[in-house]
């Protein structure tokens, strides 16, 4: 459904992505994990046309969408839940969802999308007339996901959905993501919380320094040491005991 070929993206002089190749097939939940600064958000933004690419192609349902205007891509059936939620703070929950109707391909689908949104997120239905800016962090995240569903996308991109959420809410959210996937929406999500992403996805790509470090079935990656490598550099001796030694923070410093 989504295929990225040789993607290269730069921010001014800083090249962030180097020759990225990946693909997401229909019905899957695919995750992209990696340390910060690796380029995860850059990749998602390039897919929806929010960033210009330097080289490479992005294909959505076999159509070339590289550097296409964002609103066109969205109306083709690709949705994005951006990092940091970005709800419209002075609009009510209902209005936030209404605005998203423009992305659907016709009125009927939009109605269907609204129904789905309220069905999956009953708490939002209760707060229909509340201003989105006054919702709690967790509710705003729910709002952002629900809003993305209204346009009935076939592929939903999600940028760090767990960011800033309390652990319980994170569990709820990921359960919901699974439910959304069961309804036929393909999901491609970017996460910093590696194990969470591995647990809930079918396949995972690991991004490091702007390149794909490795990819594979999430189940297999979960049990290997590869992730520690990618995140913590596996620098010093690979000790695998996890006993912490937190000695408080006013350690007097002594020069040796």
């Amino acid at each position: 459904m989504l295929r990225v070929e040789g993607l290269e993206v730069s921010y001014g002089t800083l090249q962030v992505l180097w020759g990225i190749n990946l693909e997401v097939n229909q019905g899957e939940i695919v995750a992209l994990i990696g340390a910060n600064g690796a380029g995860k958000t850059t990749l998602l933004k390039s897919c929806v046309g929010q960033l210009r690419t330097k080289a490479g192609r992005i294909l959505f349902q076999d159509k070339d969408i590289t550097n296409m205007p964002t609103q066109k891509i969205v109306r083709m059936g690709l949705g994005l839940v951006p990092e940091g939620r970005h709800v419209f703070p002075d609009l009510t929950v209902q209005e936030n969802l209404d605005v998203a109707r423009y992305g659907a391909q016709n009125e009927q689908l939009a109605n269907f999308g609204m129904e789905m949104a309220f069905e999956l997120f009953p708490r939002l239905f209760e707060r229909k007339f509340q201003k989105a800016g006054s919702l709690s962090g967790g509710e705003q995240q729910m709002m952002a996901v629900a809003r993305a569903l209204v346009s009935q996308p076939q592929l939903l991109l999600m940028d760090e959905p767990s960011l800033g959420l309390a652990p319980i809410l994170v569990d709820d959210l990921f359960e919901l993501i699974r439910k959304i996937n069961e309804r036929g929406v393909t999901i491609f999500l970017v996460e910093q919380n590696a194990f969470l992403a591995l647990e809930f996805s079918d396949r995972t790509y690991i991004l490091q320094d702007g390149k794909i470090f490795t990819e594979g079935l999430s189940v297999e990656l979960l049990n290997s040491d590869t992730i520690r490598e990618a995140y913590l550099g596996g620098v010093l001796e690979a000790k695998d005991n996890n006993i912490s030694n937190s000695s408080g923070y006013t350690q007097p410093f002594s020069r040796n």
Binding site: T13, A35, N36, L163, A194, F195, L232, F253
Partner: protein, 608 residues
């Protein structure tokens, strides 16, 4: 020393040549005009062109150097003209006293106007200054008793020097040339001085300028007042020229004309002069089309602005063309930085090694910062001993850069206190914190991309000597310090190239050079390793260690764990605005809480 002067021709040794050479050209041109035309008409046009030239020089300082959208510049022109007119007509003053008083009063009025207005930036400033000029115009129309209303003040005599005057057109022309020469001389001196450099820096990158210790508000005030003096003098000469002043001198038309001249002049005096000549001569030849003048002007403006998607970028490129670009494609040898190894002490940067003090280099207590409902930094405490190298790590959104912004004064905390080197700096402004010895780099590079590499560093280096008069020796010393900082990081070969043309890794080095040139005692590095290739990373490690060995306390935010774990003495782990752990690198790398913070809760159970 000779080498230094070669690459830095702006040293005062050459200030005379920078000033004399254009002045000579002007003198020659003027003599040429006098000799070759006896046509009074042409001389009159030349006089008007020079009047605009004087005003445009001042406007160039404000618009191009300071980057301030002063859309009401004409008001200074009008004020100068009217003050002059009043003194000349109602009191019969001679030229020189009038000139001095005009300068004084123009400067004072600008000072008064600037105080409220300078709070604004960008578009807002544009409209506020428009309104200001309009107010001045209305005052001139309505204060009949003094200004004679819309009719203006007429009957202004020709300049009177100790009793001598003449009504010949040549006479006024020569005087105008004389004033223009003085103005040009002043302009060149200002622009090539350290002030010119600092103002460019402020325009290019406010945050970097702040971090270098510049007091932006004060500098803007100075620029505004100085540039208005040019306009005021031009207004005075105009009064003599036209023999009448009226409120239209403060209209937006005048400002727009000057603006176009300045923009087309592309930031050099000759371009401005040529533009003045064109724009004075042209309307005269199009006299019959006079009523269409504004229409053409409008079409011209819209067309030119839309010509390039970047608007004025093609002119901008010409403006900075004299700074060369680095040829693309760096070869392998350039990658070896000339940094001595960790073992030997390098330092041409004369940072004295501090003995262990009884205060901390950085002491943060209970620091809290909230944004709406989100707590970015939560009761954070941290003590960094003098001379240590601390790394700060943590997942995205942990509050690391917020912490740096709080420590360097860019944002103020809601609660808690910050002590740097035994000063309490909790509520201080960035410039003040910078001046007690704090250097800082930024996550998103903040170098001055259209200044040369040396100038980038020179801005920081110039700070100490801002208060001193233009002293050649001091200036040379400053340039030397800047050059040495570049040598320390290995960039001295690129001194004359523009900052923006360096590849990414070198720009990061440049930022570090900028941060260390003022000999900080505490250095804050925000993700210095971002985007560096392995060779550059190795070099960066050695550079940072060298800096530490010179006695500087270094605190470094990084995502590249390998990098931090290899150079830091201690690592401070942040998550959700709080301190998770402070410990030695090896212990941190294997601590279960750290792993959990980065990889997720289930890491422990699964990874065993």
């Amino acid at each position: 020393m000779k080498k230094l002067l070669q690459i830095r021709p702006r040293l005062p040794e050459f200030w005379l040549s920078d000033g004399i050479y254009p002045v000579l050209i002007l003198v020659i041109m003027s003599i040429g005009i006098l000799i070759f035309t006896t046509n009074a008409y042409f001389i009159t046009i030349a006089t008007l062109a020079l009047i605009y030239f004087i005003a445009a020089l001042g406007y160039n300082l404000v618009l191009t150097h300071a980057g301030l959208f002063h859309f009401g510049f004409a008001c200074h022109f009008a004020i100068g003209g009217y003050i002059g007119a009043i003194l000349l007509v109602k009191f019969g003053f001679e030229f020189i006293p009038t000139l001095l008083i005009v300068l004084l009063i123009t400067g004072l009025t600008t000072l008064l106007m600037a105080l409220p207005v300078l709070r604004f930036a960008g578009d807002y400033l544009a409209v506020v200054t428009l309104a200001l000029a309009e107010i001045v115009r209305q005052v001139l129309i309505n204060w009949q008793s003094v200004t004679n209303g819309s009719l203006g003040i007429s009957g202004i005599p020709t300049p009177n020097f100790f009793g001598f005057t003449s009504i010949q057109t040549n006479y006024l022309f020569i005087i105008t040339v004389g004033v223009a020469i003085l103005a040009l001389f002043a302009y060149q001196t200002i622009v090539t001085s350290r002030f010119g450099l600092i103002w460019e820096a402020i325009r290019l990158n406010q945050d970097a300028a702040l971090a270098s210790g510049l007091r932006i508000y004060n500098q803007r005030l100075v620029i505004l007042v100085v540039s208005s003096l040019f306009a005021g003098v031009a207004g005075l000469i105009y009064a003599h020229y036209a023999t009448i002043v009226d409120p239209s001198m403060s209209s937006v038309d005048v400002t727009i004309l000057l603006m176009i001249i300045v923009i087309l002049g592309a930031n050099n005096w000759l371009g401005i002069l040529l533009a003045c000549i064109v724009f004075t001569a042209l309307p005269q030849f199009l006299l019959s089309l006079n009523i269409y003048r504004q229409l053409f002007l409008g079409l011209f403006l819209v067309f030119i602005m839309n010509l390039q998607p970047g608007g004025l970028s093609f002119i901008k490129r010409r403006m900075y063309a004299r700074i060369q670009r680095k040829p693309s494609g760096s070869n392998k040898e350039e990658q070896s930085w000339h940094i001595s190894s960790i073992d030997s002490l390098p330092t041409k940067v004369h940072i004295t090694k501090e003995p262990i003090k009884d205060y901390f280099a950085l002491d943060v207590r209970g620091l809290t910062k909230k944004y709406g409902g989100v707590v970015a930094v939560d009761q954070l405490s941290m003590q960094v001993p003098v001379g240590a190298l601390y790394g700060i790590i943590g997942p995205n959104g942990a509050g690391k850069t917020t912490l740096f912004n709080l420590v360097s004064g860019f944002i103020k905390p809601d609660d808690g206190s910050i002590y740097i080197l035994d000063h309490e700096v909790t509520k201080w402004e960035p410039w003040r914190i910078s001046r007690i010895g704090v250097g800082r780099t930024f996550q998103n590079l903040k170098i001055f991309d259209t200044l040369s590499v040396l100038d980038n560093v020179l801005v920081s280096a110039s700070l100490r000597s801002l208060n001193k008069p233009i002293d050649r020796d001091d200036w040379v010393q400053t340039a030397k310090k800047a050059y040495e900082a570049l040598e320390f990081v290995g960039l001295e070969k690129y001194s004359t190239l523009s900052g923006g043309s360096l590849p990414h890794g070198d720009q990061r080095r440049l930022e570090i050079a900028r941060a260390i040139v003022s000999q900080p005692r505490l250095l804050l590095l925000d993700e210095p390793a971002a985007g560096l290739n392995p060779v550059e990373l190795e070099n960066l490690k050695r550079l940072v260690k060298s800096i530490q060995n010179s006695g500087v306390t270094v605190v470094c935010i990084e995502h590249n764990m390998r990098f931090i774990l290899q150079i830091a003495d201690m690592v401070f782990v942040m998550a959700e605005g709080r301190c998770l752990l402070v410990d030695q690198p090896e212990k941190v790398a294997h601590d279960s809480k750290v792993i959990e913070a980065y990889l997720g809760r289930r890491a422990i159970s699964v990874a065993s």
